[in-house]
Amino acid sequence: MTTKPMLQVIDLEKTFGALRATDGLNLEVMPGECHAIIGPNGAGKTTLMGQLMGELRPDAGRVLFKGEDVTALPPHTRALKGLARSFQITSILKDFTALENVAMAVQAHAGHSFRFWAPARKDRSLTDPARAALDKVGLGHRADTLASLLAHGEQRQLELAMAMATDPDLLLLDEPMAGMGVEDSARMVDVLQALRGRTTMLLVEHDMDAVFALADRISVLVYGKVIACDAPDRIRENAQVRQAYLGEEAAH
């Protein structure tokens, strides 16, 4: 009895001119796990994210989501299939309130939006789940604040709330802790801990404390390839990994 992987990346390749950003990348994310991706800068993490989400077309290879080949599908189709994403550089709707931002996420999955009459802001079927998501990330008290007026850390929380609001099958988290202070990061880790087991997560992060606290498995990405994929402790011991990545940190 084998469980099918939630996400399978098979021999993925992407070249930009002379740069092989993704060079035969293989990856598997099992349902319910929190799978982290780490790697030095320039390893190709952003390119990988783009290809998983559908913003970039790979030159070769396949992406399978829930067993289905989604390689040629555009971002919005993948989103509707249960793939949600938070962005590394905060990408929210600045002129909407926090509540409206998350409500848009809910609305996307509530059928088509060719409804021209009823006020969306008063629609409880949208705002109730939105408030719930905001509460879960700890932003409930800021629901009616304009997104552009939120602090950086709060905006990162909003990013996460938008991704979580639709109860996705797979959550792609692109450096959710980016630019956050110690307290905010710790809070974010708590939120993500609460999701473990229920929501499958693919987490790209630099913050090693967070990674080792959250990950069930870690894949190490170097020069567009996964050089090791294992439980956190064994990754820590892995000589290749230490050399390529943790090496500099171990030396301190």
Binding site: M53, E55, P74, P75, H76, T77, A79, L80, A84, R85, F87, S91, I92, L93, K94, D95, F96, E100, A103, M104, A105, Q107, A108, H109, S113, F114, R115, F116, W117, A118, P119, A120, R121, D123, L146, M162, T166
Partner: protein, 332 residues
């Protein structure tokens, strides 16, 4: 809540003033003001339709006047065939009835917007601006080439459309009846637009304006929504064009010259982009400004140009934005 009241109060005041204008004008023995404000309101309707895609949707369409002209020509051509007893299609000799002409103007403008929009919206940014402009030129040249309908010189329309029980062609009061028809059309559209903006569709449109990439990653097929908005805007602008043809009893390719598209954009910006009453205020201010300047010099455009540049550089929020205070507008 105070800001909200201010906007509603100001809107109500404007509506009241416009309702009372004809009796006031006649009372002051200046009946021609009725025609002046009919004209302003027709342009306000056209500018409002542009505001939907430009102000709320972020689509810089530089060819919107094409739909204005198309709507006008539908009315003109149907009327021409009817009064000349010339068969148009399959023996049908056109019509002078508003109840057929005006819906047709809306439908045909909408259909053309669908085709041109479907192609244009595959592009974005500067490409989109240039392409909408180029397509509008194409439509412009097409109508110039229609010699049978006056070509470059335009098409005279024998009389205004039949709109029973009102006689729009009435010698004494026809223009007053038309004024009220336009008023109802304008505020009717503004009301519908306010519902549209606050609806799910409107939220998607505004979201796409702010961050299209984000909207796509949430699951929205943004292209479809933008195209729908584009078609609605084109259709409504066609309606404005139909009213225009009635107002002038004349239609010519000048109504869809690209400078007309530019004027519509100026009205939207001047009044306040992404606000409900902005285009109305913008139309009133621009047309009045043109008229005032023209009374001083025939070279008024020489002064209008720098004024426009200054507005763009320094008064970006527009007049309505200033009146009701900068902040959240749409339907809250």
């Amino acid at each position: 809540m105070v800001k909200l009241s201010r906007e509603i109060w100001a809107t109500a005041l404007i509506l009241l003033a416009l309702l009372l204008l004809p009796p006031l004008a006649y009372g002051l023995d200046q009946p021609f003001y009725v025609e002046v404000w009919s004209r302003i309101m027709i342009y306000a309707l056209a500018a409002s339709s542009l505001n939907l895609i430009l102000g709320y949707g972020g689509m810089v369409s530089f060819g919107h006047a094409a739909y204005f002209g198309i709507g006008g020509y539908v009315v003109g051509i149907l009327s021409f065939h009817s009064t000349e007893f010339l068969p148009l299609i399959g023996g049908w000799e056109g019509t002078t009835s508003a109840f057929i002409s005006w819906p047709l103007a809306v439908i045909i403008s909408g259909l053309i917007a669908l085709v041109l929009g479907a192609i244009s919206l595959r592009t974005s940014g500067v490409y989109f601006i240039m392409i909408t402009l180029a397509f509008a030129q194409m439509v412009f040249y097409f109508f110039i080439s229609l010699e049978a309908y006056g070509g470059d010189d335009g098409l005279m329309i024998a009389r205004r459309n039949d709109f029973p029980p009102l006689n729009l062609a009435d010698f004494f009061y026809g223009h007053v009846y038309l004024y009220y028809v336009v008023l109802v059309a304008l505020f009717g559209f503004l009301y519908l637009k306010s519902r549209l903006i606050g609806s799910r569709f409107g939220m998607v449109l505004q979201g796409a304006k702010q961050n299209e990439r984000r909207m796509a990653s949430l699951g929205y097929p943004v292209y479809r929504y933008k195209l729908a908005a584009f078609v609605i805007a084109g259709a409504v602008c066609g309606f404005a064009g139909a009213l225009w043809a009635n107002h002038q009893t004349f239609i010519s390719p000048d109504s869809m010259a690209w400078t007309k598209s530019g004027e519509l954009m100026v009205m939207v910006i001047l009044g306040g982009m992404g606000t409900l009453m902005g285009p109305v205020v913008g139309a009133a201010v621009l047309l009045t400004l043109e008229a005032v300047l023209a009374s001083y010099t025939e070279h008024w455009a020489f002064f209008l140009g720098p004024i426009l540049i200054l507005v763009v550089l320094f008064a970006r929020n527009g007049i309505w934005g200033w009146v009701v205070g900068r902040g959240r507008e749409d339907g809250r």
